[in-house]
């Protein structure tokens, strides 16, 4: 209570101390497309300033007087205006792209100077335009793979679009596309991510210091915003690549006399056609393997102060072999958002969101054809108020309401087969999370951002919950050092809507920035996060068959405490910037599998999972070169991530699957002239932990491996170099060629090393030989690709 009281007192103080203050507010837009621009720096006088929010809105309260206002945004021409404040004032502005400045790298950890001033830390942003200039491994611009080049972010495995942040697992990332949760961000077995770079406007990754406005995952928030569409004119883009092609159209809705739409729309689609080559290979003539996705965004200005947005995503992967097998999976989401400028200081937004992830597996073995289907649906409602109290002081408050429906699986017969239909129980949950977040400028040097999130997660019926002997599904036997399953001794039935289990948790978040001088700042942060959903996957890669399970009677929520400090510096008038961050993360009740876990088609997942603790710590360095012919960055991470779980590894700490000691990325972009751009990136990472056998023995005619402990070995180090060249169109032209070579020196990086018995093929039968071998599996050798883009 005291905490809230002091906030309220603080606000009162802040709002009443002024003598004669007025508010300057408005919107910032791109002059060509009319889209609102987020993150524009607005600097007023010597030491006041703010930035535009997600919808281009800004508000700053100033004392009466005359000011110089500077609007600046990377890649755009800076606008400088003299203004006289003697009353509340509305000032909208349009920014023009600066052709000369376009070469600037935009994948910095936020723009250099803002990085110094903001209280934000552990944040990385990427613009879609920059993503498109980076060399690509498979010839396809990929948002997640671009993020993996930043410090503290590593890849689940080569070519994979799963990512690990600061030693966390892939399921600890909250992935939001226009506020809708995306549960599986991968296409084509994980080689591509589901985000179409053409439809994406901004990407922001919070690796730590997560503001109270976000919650639900331990390691990171990947916040992706879709483009809104051109409000001034209709146009389109086409991209033709070897693996997929894409198209985009956008244009204004209801143009007014000035030629500007009251709204706009954008529609983008992609489809891969790797499977079109399949018929060329005899074994694959019956194989289907493709993905497609569609992004839609519509926005409309109801009046000067109220706007409506509708955005949607729908994507599917299809993988099938005629008469044998079929698999379809994908996400779908829809967001309807209303933003309203209630006053020049108070901004309101509310979103209603639907999100669905589902997969289907058809088994078409003659006589027993069946379909396995599983999905997760959630409905969110997210209202939020932003109150721009005064320069440097902003209060955000709101709540996230979520209703979850998990369908772990149902089996239905196909083609009138004799398969008995079966349905695992659905699981339901309700989450309510009110929050308050306050940016508080204490002095010109010291700014704070602090807040709290209260998460209330409730498992509700209808469900029948098993009761186990000893009150728990598993009991640890210390003599044998293993978990033993307990018998189900009864069940408890809950009616629809009945509370089964409720969790209430307080999540404090705080960060501070001390501005040492104009080019240097020091920051520190503390964060507590709770995660109520667990991804129960018995592999380290993202698979389409992932099963998300909510916390409940037997599965506790995971939580983490993260501390981070950072040093931020700009050099040579923002040409370079440099940062060092160190973090320590303490994780509790993280899930791992009992030895020999059997997870697929397992209704009582609690009998296969144990919970333990983890710790992760590391140092991240990043040096950016922001301007000149050659731009780019260098990042290095030194980190450790470990777990300790009863019954695993003799109860001692062991490296987590995501532990990567060294990680180095070097990215260079070179502009030769108006027509040619070149890009290169080099990545080095030490090997991820694996468990190698400690012995072998024979059983039932087969050679079997024996193991001690977990993750006691390392794969060989990983490194690769990718190159690209872009041929831009001549003056007046509109076609662009992009050539790229992934993994230039054809390094066969180990995806896995596995141990097995050698077999001899005798009469088409694999007969074991008793001899053993270690085999390395690597995914991608050298991959050349070419893409053609066309604007109309």
């Amino acid at each position: 209570m005291k905490f809230y009281a002091s906030i309220l007192f603080g606000l009162f103080f802040l709002t009443t101390q002024a003598q004669e203050k007025y508010t300057l507010s408005g919107y910032g837009k791109d002059i060509t497309s009319g889209e609102s621009l987020w993150g524009i720096n607005i600097i007023v006088g010597p030491n006041q300033g703010t930035i535009t929010n997600d919808y281009g809105f800004y508000s700053i309260t100033l004392e009466k007087g005359t000011y110089t206002v500077e609007f600046s945004f990377i890649g755009f021409k800076t606008i400088i205006k003299e203004i006289v404040i003697d009353g509340d004032m509305k000032l909208n502005f349009e920014m023009e792209e600066d052709a000369a400045a376009l070469d600037e790298v935009v994948v910095t950890s936020s723009k250099a100077s803002r990085n110094i001033k903001s209280t934000e830390m552990s944040v990385a942003t990427i613009k879609a335009t920059t993503m498109k200039k980076l060399p690509t491994g498979l010839g396809e611009v990929d948002l997640v793979k671009s993020i993996q080049l930043l410090p503290g972010v590593s890849s689940v495995s080569e070519g994979s679009s799963g990512f690990n942040v600061r030693g966390g697992s892939a399921d600890q990332n909250l992935v939001l596309l226009d506020e809708a949760t995306i549960y599986n961000a991968s296409h084509l077995l994980g080689f591509f991510s589901v985000f179409n770079a053409d439809a994406v406007k901004d990407v922001k990754l919070h690796k730590g210091a997560i503001p109270a406005t976000f919650g639900g995952r331990l390691s990171s928030v990947l916040d992706i915003k879709q483009r809104e569409g051109n409000t001034k004119e209709f146009n389109g883009e086409l991209g033709l690549g070897l693996i997929s092609s894409r198209a985009l159209v956008q244009g204004p809705i209801n143009k007014d006399d000035n030629g500007e739409g009251k709204g706009s729309y954008l529609l983008a689609g992609r489809r891969s056609y790797i499977d079109l080559f399949a018929p060329l290979i005899d074994d694959f003539k019956d194989t289907k393997l493709f993905f497609y996705d569609v992004n839609l965004k519509v926005n409309y200005n109801l009046n000067d102060k109220n706007r409506l947005f509708l955005s949607g995503y729908f994507g599917r992967d299809r993988f099938a072999i005629d008469n044998v097998f079929g698999n379809t999976y994908g996400n779908g989401s829809a967001t309807l958002r209303w933003t309203s400028e209630l006053s020049d200081k108070l901004f309101f937004q509310a979103s209603a969101i639907y999100s669905d992830y589902e997969y289907e597996v058809d088994v078409l073995t003659s006589g027993s054809e069946f379909r396995w289907k599983s999905n997760i649906v959630n409905y969110n409602f997210k209202p939020r108020f932003s109150w721009f109290i005064s320069s440097g002081n902003t209060l955000r408050t709101g709540a996230d309401f979520t209703y979850y429906n998990f369908n772990p699986g149902e089996i239905s017969a196909l083609n009138n087969s004799s398969t008995t239909p079966q349905d695992f129980q659905d699981k339901y949950a309700l989450e309510i999370a009110p929050y308050i977040d306050f940016e508080h400028k204490l002095s010109d040097k010291l700014s704070l951002q602090y807040g709290v999130r209260w998460s209330n997660f409730q498992r509700i019926g209808k469900e029948t919950v098993s009761q186990y002997a000893n009150g728990s599904p598993l009991t640890y036997n210390p003599t044998l050092d293993l978990f033993e399953e307990n018998e189900v001794v009864g069940t408890t039935s809950f009616d629809s809507g009945d509370a089964i289990k409720t969790f209430n948790n307080i999540e404090p978040r705080a960060s501070a920035r001390y501005l040492w001088n104009k080019t240097t700042s020091i920051k520190a942060s503390y964060n507590r996060n709770y995660q109520y959903l667990h991804l129960i996957s018995n592999s380290t890669s993202a698979t389409p068959l992932d099963i998300w399970t909510p916390s409940g009677s037997y599965l506790k929520p995971q939580y983490s405490d993260q501390f981070a400090i950072g040093y931020f510096k700009t050099l040579k008038n923002n040409t370079y910037d440099f940062s060092i961050e160190a973090y320590y993360k303490d994780l509790r009740d993280v899930t791992d599998f009992v030895d020999g876990a059997d997870l697929l088609f397992q209704e009582n997942i609690e009998t296969q999972v144990v919970q333990g603790k983890g710790r992760a710590y590391g140092i991240e360095f990043q040096l950016n070169k922001n301007s000149g012919k050659l731009t780019g960055w260098l990042s290095y991470t030194l980190a450790k991530s470990e777990r300790q779980v009863l019954g695993i590894n003799n109860n001692e700490y062991y490296p987590s699957n995501n532990d990567q000691t060294h990680e180095l990325s070097i990215v260079g972009l070179y502009k030769l002239n108006d027509r040619w751009d070149f890009g290169a990136n080099f990545v080095y990472g030490s090997g991820k932990p694996v468990t190698y056998p400690t012995g072998k023995f024979e059983q039932n005619g087969l050679v079997v491996a024996d193991y001690e402990g977990r993750n006691g070995n390392r794969l060989p180090a990983f490194h690769r170099l990718d190159l690209s060249a872009t041929l831009n169109p001549k003056e007046g032209g509109n076609g662009t060629w992009i050539f790229s070579i992934g993994n230039v020196y054809n390094r066969q990086n180990a995806a896995t090393i596995f141990f097995r018995e050698r077999v001899d093929e005798i009469n088409n039968v694999n007969i074991p030989t008793g001899q053993t071998e270690a085999s390395k599996f690597s995914f991608l050798g050298i991959v050349p690709s070419i893409t053609y883009q066309f604007k109309f």
Partner: protein
């Protein structure tokens, strides 16, 4: 239900290989596995075969050795081995090459057999219960065309009726011209062992003894169905999952871990044994493949 996982794993594997230019390299020479203290290995159990009764009960004891060593596992010749059903005790004699036998033990249904091994000054003990197996209603071979997953040829099949209201676990073994054959296939965990959870009391028809292994005309095909305990079923499930590992985690491979034996070192529990001492009821039949 679980056959689908097998299919998925294989489909994904071949697709990745072809579509993503991936490759597999033998790196046995580049990897040095640390050497760990050898563990006792139990390979065998009690079998009640009513069709061709066994002249002796037999099991083999060895120790583990380095996974990449191509030397055979060292045998254990100096152990004291005995089995009891709670009333009688049968002691086993070493016949050479790690094989221990007893000719007096006649297995009986419903009995729980406990093995005691004294070796290196430590005592190991484990038990398993002998459960009756259902017989074959039909036993035949059928020709199948080659598919993308399996070779063509004659496959040995049977029909069998599961007893009602009894929890049953089955394990199929296949012999070619009298020799036991098995392949380290990802499908074994789903195809060679079965629980009656989804077909209690019903007849199963056209069950493959081992759908990976085909016969040619003139060969002698022998198929066995074993009635096993839940504990042995769980053990075999892990064993077949591990030996069928394709190295690709997309289809889901559990983290590698030792497969827990039912034979416990009672002197020093942390000094584990590996392998399983089982008790099984066996039904079998043989045919010579003709056109």
């Amino acid at each position: 239900m679980k056959t689908i996982i097998t299919t998925i794993k294989r489909v994904i594997r071949i697709s990745i290989i072809v579509l993503f230019f991936s490759c597999e390299t033998d790196v046995s020479d580049d990897i040095n596995l640390a050497t760990f203290p050898a563990k006792l290995v139990i390979n065998g159990g009690i079998e009640r075969n009513t069709v061709s009764p066994l002249t002796a009960q037999q099991l083999r004891l060895t120790t583990t050795n380095n996974f990449l060593s191509n030397e055979p596992n060292p045998i254990v010749a100096d152990a004291d081995v005995s089995v009891t059903d709670g009333t009688n005790i049968w002691s086993y004699d070493h016949q050479g090459d790690g094989f221990y036998t007893n000719t007096a033990l006649v297995p009986e249904l419903g009995k729980t057999y406990t093995i005691t091994i004294l070796w290196n000054g430590e005592t190991y003990q484990g038990s398993d219960t002998l459960n009756e197996v259902a017989g074959f209603d039909n036993f035949f071979a059928e020709f199948e065309e080659e598919t993308i997953f399996s070779p063509g040829g004659y496959f040995l099949k049977f029909d069998s009726t599961d007893p009602v209201n009894i929890e049953n676990y089955y394990y199929n073994r296949l012999f070619k011209n009298g020799e036991f054959v098995i392949s380290p296939d990802p499908g074994n965990a789903q195809n060679l062992i079965t629980s009656d959870e989804f077909f209690d009391g019903q007849q199963r028809v056209n069950v493959d003894v081992n759908g990976e292994i085909s016969f040619e005309i003139g060969e002698t095909a022998t198929g066995q169905q074993l009635g096993i305990s839940k504990e042995y079923f769980d053990y075999l499930f892990e064993l077949f999952t591990q030996t069928g590992n394709t190295g690709i985690s997309f289809g889901g491979n559990p983290p590698p871990a030792t497969i827990r034996s039912n034979v416990i070192n009672t002197t020093t529990p942390s000094n584990r044994a590996v392998g399983f001492f089982y008790a099984a009821d066996v039904i079998e039949n043989s045919i010579i493949i003709t056109q």
